[in-house]
Symmetry: C2
Subunit: 226 residues, 2 copies
């Protein structure tokens, strides 16, 4: 589908800094595609040929680990998906899969590189973006590696509530099995933790994955105490 970048209201902060002629170039080197829930946007092991910009939707970034799939992060629009795996190597080191209906712009790598070369503000914004994600990643990995399971799950739920959905009530974007490989635990253990949180009245979780945080204070405490 042909995009209309000039009047696009979902431009990235970096793209907002492009000059009119650059926006024209972008428009000519950009393809907009819809993905439904569960569809793969790019896959580990394949060649990284385009810059991938998430215009709308929610996506999981995941890679094969020694004992199975590992979810590395969730990205919600607006966000570039996998700049590091596009620039860092010819081959993708991880995959991106739509969690909800999503809209993605595929941008020609060469055009994008040229923006970096020719537009310092654009380059700077991309650098800032990469830097902020690394900070968030380090923080998450440190917590994941030091907290035990109840703390890891509490943290994840708080992250969903505070940052992703900005609400105490939301639909779990991942299955229990996926949550398990996000927090690096067995699905049985995660399932038990949810039962326990429900039993204690800290959360309410319906059969159709609607989750409500009833005692955020308790979740906070569980999250910090590991």
């Amino acid at each position: 589908m042909k995009p209309d970048c000039k009047f696009c209201k979902m431009k990235s902060p970096a793209a907002e800094l492009l000059k009119p002629d650059e926006i024209d170039t972008l428009e000519q080197n950009c393809a907009q595609v819809k993905f439904s829930k569960g569809e793969t946007i790019f896959r580990e092991g394949t060649f990284a040929t385009n810059i991938v910009y998430l215009r709308a939707g929610l996506v999981k970034i995941h890679m094969k680990g020694p004992i199975g799939e590992k979810i590395l992060r969730l990205n919600k629009a607006p966000a570039y998906l996998g700049l590091p795996t596009t620039f860092g190597d010819r081959v993708n080191h991880y995959s991106a899969t739509a969690i909800t209906e999503s809209e993605v712009c595929f941008i020609s790598l060469d055009a994008f590189k040229n923006f970096i070369y020719s537009n310092g503000n654009f380059a700077y914004e991309i650098i800032m973006d990469l830097c902020r994600s690394e900070l968030a990643d380090f923080q998450r990995f440190t917590n994941l590696s030091q907290k035990q399971l109840p703390g890891r799950i509490a943290e994840l739920l708080l992250c969903f509530s505070n940052h992703l959905f900005k609400s105490n009530a939301f639909e779990l974007p991942l299955s229990i099995t996926e949550l398990a490989n996000f927090v690096s635990a067995s699905r049985e253990s995660v399932s038990r933790q949810f039962s326990e949180l429900s039993r204690l009245g800290i959360i309410e979780l319906t059969h159709d994955k609607k989750l409500t945080i009833l005692r955020k204070d308790m979740l906070d405490k569980i999250s910090t105490n590991g």
Copy 2:
């Protein structure tokens, strides 16, 4: 100490792309400092006021976690230290400490920003650098979170041997306690693993931390089998 960037043989790949007048600017906005083993180069929680470039030496990047210090990565020269924590927030999210005698250049943040704005090749190289480290970090975190202790330690030793020292024999750059918080385990467990690896004749470890890998094949197997 006044640096001599023009004739410096340890320039970063990015700095190699600077034009003569930019090199002059760099030289005027750069201070070279030596750190001895154990000295802090920058500290979590303090303001990030300079770009930090490791000209020579070996450094650990570490942050406070819920149950104690966590080592995130080792950086050997040449490398920028903590670009993400310098750009991503005003305050450092992690610390850098010299593991060996090290030489560091502190570069004015404004000068560095201007290079990004004005020199696309420089900006591109910085982006590539950030991207490559994220790939390596993701890989390491996935492995650390899925492998169990013997595999994590085997992987770390192989990484030391293959990438850091490029030799089967080297001096352990970290104490047992530090290794433990690198691989997210207790120091007792790590100590036991080393005893076991020695007992099996896979490594030899002397009292003064000189380590020799005797059976790389076995380490490889332990590393892959988790």
